[in-house]
Every structure is written in structure tokens, then in C-alpha cells.
Amino acid sequence: MKPAPFRYFRPEHLEHVYELLDHYGYDAKLLAGGQSLIPAMNMRLMAPSVLVDLARVEGLTGLDCGDGFLEIGSMVRQQSLERNPSVAERWPLLAAAVKHVGHRQTRVRGTVGGSIAHADPAAELPAVMLALGARYEIGSSAGTRWVDHETFVVAEYTTDLAENEVLLRIRVPPMDPRAGWSFLEFRRKHGAFALVGCVALLQVSEGGTIADPRIVVFGGEPRARRLEEAEALLEGQKPSEAVLREVRSAVQEAWRPDPQPLVSAAYLQHVAGVLAERACREAVARARSRP
């Protein structure tokens, strides 16, 4: 199929974007990279009557880590993040995750902000941003505000954005260079959506115990979330095989995905537990290997 007709605007300044959103309200949809929006429009799952293309808007494409935090303009292309040497060196978890987003060809056009604002439950970037404690700057004609990830991503395809608001940038705290991390995803084939994925981020103390564990599972629940049950099992503990097995069971118990076509919820829960165990093991290994 082909998209339904729409009016197209390509403003160059945020003020103009805000004017358009204030004027058209719910009828307008922001066009970022289009790698999620355009397939939906091609299938007529969405048919906005107005598209506001952000591609030429000044001020949305910065990628900077001058103050130790990683600031990503919402229109930064996923490929730019993937190729940035500072990101690879200082936020390796993010660099690893972005390689799993879509296909190479979609990462050329797709944006970091667009992926997060689209809030697909199986998306990689929202899950990693949750683990890293990212915050988001949102703008409108009324001004700007900052929110944390759990406030921003509400449920599947649903964010905290009002109909006249724009995600401007993402601010990611520094990753401790001694932190252990892992990103694992289980899917039918290369490039496909994650059936289930797990992000692990933790510290290993001098005494060999785990501190500040963050275990995020994403896929079949409405949004990525931290599995506090699993984190509680890890905090202050040595990462023995017994503890890791407990993490696996806790995740299998606590994570409640919807079944996928041909894939039962029980199977997805089983895989989630296995991924969580593996991710913790991998994160611990990385933490130990750091100088």
C-alpha cells in the first residue's frame, strides 16, 4: 500500500515546529528518521494528515560529551552514535546496543530520539537508556522540561509527550569505567525485532561483591523495566553460580510478557531468565577485566 495523503512541512527552527504543533495538534505527527513512522504509514496503520519533518531544524543534531555526560540531540542518526569513538570508549553498553537496532540501512536514517519517542516495547535504545539513567529534555511553545526515562516511556508506543511537545535531547550520565555491562538480545534472525532482551550494568567491589546492579528486560511487556527482584538478589552478593541461577529464576518468575505469534509466554520467560543469567555473568567478567 501507499501512505494516505498529508500536508508536509519542513521547518528550520524549533519555534516554527512549536507553532505547527500548536496549530495542528493531534493531526500532526513529527517525522524524525521515518524508519518506524513510514512503514506504519505505508501499511496505513497510521495516517497523519500533517507531517512535520525535523530533518532541517537547527539544534537537534549535537553529539557531545564535554561535561562528562553524553548529550545526544534527538535527531542524531543511530549510525552517528554507532560510529562515534567517544561513545564506543566511554559508553560501550550504548555502542553495543545500537548495533542491534534495525538494519544497517535503517540506522543510516533512523534517529536516537525517534527510536526512544516511538517507544516500541522491543526496542533496544529505551532499554539501555533506562539502565544508564538517561534524562530527556522536552520542548514546546510553553518552554522546556526534563524527565527521567520511567516518566518518559509510559507504555507500548506511548510516551509522556503532549501533542504539542518535541523530544529535544537525551542526557546520559557517565558510565563508570570499571563498570561491568552486557547487552543480549534473542530474536528470530538478524535485524528482526527482539523477542526478549536483557541489559545488565553493575559494579564489582574490591571485595568481589556486586554493587548497584541494574537488570533491564525488554520485549514482550509494555515497556522495558528494571527487574528489582533480580537486582535485590545481586546487591552485596558475590556472583556465584548459585546467585546467578537465582537471578534466572527470579526473572523467569517476575517478567510477564505477552505471547508472540508462534512463541508462548512461558518460552519467552524461560529465555528471559537465561539471558539475565548470561548477561550478569558477562557483566561480572567485564567488570573484573577492567584495570
Binding site: 500500500m1 508536509y8 519542513r10 538494519h103 540501512q105 535503517t106 536514517r109
Partner: protein
């Protein structure tokens, strides 16, 4: 506002507003008035007559629509032509040289029977031409990962892999499509419509 209004007998029924898009395709500047909902792949095929790029899934999964946009492989089904304003687009039509000499990837596809119906082939070639231009001797894993961005219903992929392996094993000086070379072969260039 950035849009310019054009009213003629081709205005879309509901919106009544076409947009002028100006871009380079295969080395030639083209300027057209388009309905904003015109996908880039359909613009290439129907407005410019460049039918080597194919429409498969319209979701970005199959890869049949892959072209180069400012030197990078993209899904032309996931872009509106209006978004390509100012871009440099390269299609399958300029992968062979001006004199008709096949690119090593194309030659390998023929030698190894890596296509049957050929529907997926231009998309794969666009991705692989880019891969080999930047990485003349990719590993098996790199090749498979790149091929994983494309679907083929005919071949079962084995002959495609054989073809690509053969190119990796015989690295040639990196050959990129050169859309700026003056081409006597007009089939590679956008069709010039009569001006109104």
C-alpha cells in the same frame, strides 16, 4: 516556510499541494514537483524511470529497495522523495561502468549463479558494493551479517555467499559506483520528462 506551492493538473486530490524536490540521481541533477507522500523508491521508478530498484515489503525488512543516499545504503521505501531534497542518490543503474563493464560483485553473481528471479539482487548488490568499497576483504561473519539485511526467496543464499566470498578472496582496488562519470549510456540516467 520551506515548502513551495505548485498548482497544476497533477495536484493530489486531498491536499492540493505539491513540493519541489531537487536532488542528484546517478550524477545528474533532477528537479520535480512531487506529492509529499511519494516514496523515494516510487519516485525513482515512476518519476525517473529507474526501475532497477525494486519494491518488496515497504517496511524496510526485505532490502530490495536499497540505494545509496549520500554514499550510504538506505531503504528507499522508508523515505519520501521530498526528504531527499539536496541528497545524492545512487542506484543499481550505475554500478556497472559507463562502458558496461560489470562490477566485481555483479560478475561474481553471474559466475556463481547467485540470482534466479533477480528481484532481490539489485538491493543486495547496492549493499555489497558499499561493503567492499570500505572493506575489500571482509570476514565470513561480516559478509553474512551484511547479507542478513536482505531477503531472497529463490536461492537459499548459498550461491550468493559463494559469490561474495569469491570477491572477498580476490580484493580488487575498491570500486565504488561513480555516478559523476559522464555517461553515454542513457539507461542509467533519470528519464527527462518533457517540460510543461
Amino acid at each position: 516556510m520551506a515548502e513551495r506551492e505548485m498548482h497544476d493538473s497533477r495536484t493530489s486530490a486531498d491536499e492540493g499541494r505539491l513540493h519541489t524536490v531537487r536532488l542528484r540521481v546517478n550524477g545528474r541533477t533532477v528537479e520535480r514537483a512531487v506529492d509529499p507522500r511519494r516514496l523515494l523508491v516510487d519516485f525513482l521508478r515512476h518519476d525517473l524511470g529507474l526501475t532497477g530498484t525494486h519494491v518488496g515489503c515497504e517496511q524496510g525488512i526485505c532490502g530490495a529497495c536499497t540505494v545509496h543516499w549520500n554514499g550510504e545504503p538506505v531503504r528507499s521505501c522508508l523515505a519520501f522523495a521530498v526528504q531527499a531534497d539536496g541528497a545524492e542518490i545512487t542506484t543499481i543503474e550505475v554500478v556497472a561502468s559507463e562502458t558496461g563493464e560489470l562490477h566485481p560483485v555483479q560478475r561474481a553473481f553471474i559466475e556463481h549463479h547467485a540470482l534466479q528471479c533477480g528481484f532481490c539482487t539489485p538491493g543486495i548488490i547496492m549493499t555489497m558494493v558499499h561493503l567492499f568499497a570500505h572493506n575489500p576483504s571482509p570476514t565470513e561473519e561480516t559478509i553474512k551479517e551484511a547479507l542478513g539485511d536482505h531477503l531472497c526467496r529463490c536461492t537459499g543464499y548459498e550461491n550468493i555467499l559463494r559469490a561474495l566470498r569469491s570477491v572477498a578472496e580476490r580484493p580488487s582496488p575498491s570500486v565504488t559506483p561513480d555516478p559523476t562519470a559522464g555517461r553515454g549510456d542513457r539507461s542509467a540516467l533519470p528519464v527527462q520528462h518533457q517540460s510543461r
